[in-house]
Amino acid sequence: MWIALHFWSALYLCCLVLAGYALLDWMAIGLTRVERFGLAIILGPGVFGFCLVMISMVGIPPARGEIILLGGVFAIVATLARIWRRRAEPIYLPPEKTPVWILLLCPIAIGYGLYAVGTDVLVFPTLEWDAFAIWQLKAKVLATAALYPRPAYFFDVRLSYSHLRYPLLWPMICAGIDAANQSLREGLGKLPAYLFYLGTGICIYGTVRRSRGRTAAIIAAGLVLTAPVVYRYGGSGTAEMALTAFFTASILCILRWQQAQRWGDLILCALFSAAMAWTKNEGQALALINGIVILVLSPRPLGRKNILAVLAFAAIVIVLFIPWLIFIHPLPRSDEDYANRLNPYEISTHLYRLPAIIRAMLTEVANVKDWGIFWILLAALAVLARGSSMSRTMRTLWVLLILQALVYIPPYMVANWDLDELLPATVDRLFMHMMPAAALLIGLLWPRPVLTVNAAAIE
């Protein structure tokens, strides 16, 4: 029984990873093995979950046979990509001497994180309030009924606390586990979050490794993978880890687009942005920010190719998001309803909340219990690097970070919750979404060891 349970769960996870490789091999070239793996384990659950949602929307709930069939289709797509796609030369990064103590101690610290989040997703039941009240409840709904016709759950305002109009990608990814096992198993649905946890760290490692070396890459990835907030939400079953991972991968694609303007990177970025929009309402704002950054910070922003790229990005995100808008159209607006409240009138009448929101955000930056030295380190490195010229990559990351912080303020202003209640419960999660850009900045600002520079000069 136990073996069967884990066999089907493992098979489902393999299908998710396979889906990631299948699409990635068609679209991206010039990736290192590490970057390819990191992107694949984030892209796969997004694509597979989206397919399950679409199939459910035509009246077929997720089931084991469907998962095996989809896995088979992605296996064929991956094989075709291997056969037909011209493979670029493998990327070899220059060797670098990393201090032995970093190579020994950081993996131990990260190893604890792998253990902690691993036990959360695999061993413990769903304990976090939002996880069982919202996300994993939805996963059960999706595992037991198709989205067409819409299940009664979506109209039962007695369950309004579970936010009936919240996006469904993460719950559907979790529902896949139940479908693969053909039963509702409490706690097991959180398992795909582990892929997102790993993927986030690996993508950050890969990006920093390429431009700043291994030491900086280990430090940047380690800071993310061992942050207390990530321990809190990484394996809890909420959608925070999924959103953070999708955002990390989308940033990587934006940076690659800026460097080489390859269409594959732009399409991938759009896919990750659409996945963000399907994961949480905040993800819709983050997708918009990605679009703005591509428009403004690409080389030759007003060039024909860049304008086309922005239009293509917007078209992909909108087309993929439209089914969701159609689905939620008749659903009751009974929860916070941010979409209707975010208007100039509501914002201007709640301006008095602004100082409290800014104060809470600044307090969170210095909250060592939530973040260790993460944000303090970023501030210190930024101060040390002041005056030196800033690359396009650095500018992009700063703009992403600042826009993200700004975009989270208006919802707090119009929220129908008492701020004293709302801010302590949510501000750490919002900072978790801001983590990828900040971690990449830490990695890129990390001082190069003097010895390495000399060695490079000698070579």
Binding site: F132, R158, Y161, A227
Partner: protein
């Protein structure tokens, strides 16, 4: 006189540049290790274990009471400071028993937070027919006057005659 000072300053600056990444690296590794230790302590703390026991007790209670049918929750003698726990019990029940219903208010009642739930529930006493029509097989009474250590008792729902059993 100033030359040696300047040289030693340059030397100090050079040393700082040389050792700065190492010092920073040590700081980060110590921070990571401390956070791991704090997380370990949090996970093994009595508070964390108590919370898990609380959740497990409620899960077991729901599964024992339900016996394949829905459950109606009836809160009694709630104190305002217990509202949050009340909501947790309601949310947890809906999660654990889904797709079976856990009902605490009439249809059309918006329950967004704990005060919605408590306000509605304490004035709502449906009869057995109403409950049976909605697939409810038992009433779970939660009495707030005894705290939440062992506040639950179960009343089987009579399906043939109306009842105001929950007092």
């Amino acid at each position: 006189m100033r030359l040696p000072d300047s040289m030693s300053q340059r030397q100090a600056s050079s040393n700082l540049k040389k050792y700065f990444p190492t010092v920073l690296g040590i700081l980060v590794v110590v921070s990571m290790a401390s956070l791991d230790y704090l997380d370990w302590r949090r996970r093994t703390s009595p508070g964390s274990e108590e919370y898990m026991k609380f959740i497990a007790a409620w899960d077991n209670e729901y599964l024992a009471v339900s016996r394949g049918k829905g459950v109606f929750l009836q809160f009694q003698n709630l104190k305002t400071n217990a509202y949050q726990e009340t909501a947790r019990v309601y949310f947890r029940g809906n999660f654990i028993l889904y797709p079976l219903p856990v009902i605490a208010a009439p249809e059309g009642t918006r329950i967004n937070r704990y005060d919605d739930l408590a306000d509605q529930n304490m004035h709502f006493h449906p009869n057995g027919q109403w409950l049976a029509a909605r697939g409810v097989g038992s009433i779970l009474v939660i009495d707030g006057s005894h705290g939440y250590d062992n506040p639950v008792y179960m009343i089987p729902v009579p399906t043939t005659r109306p009842t105001t059993a929950v007092q």
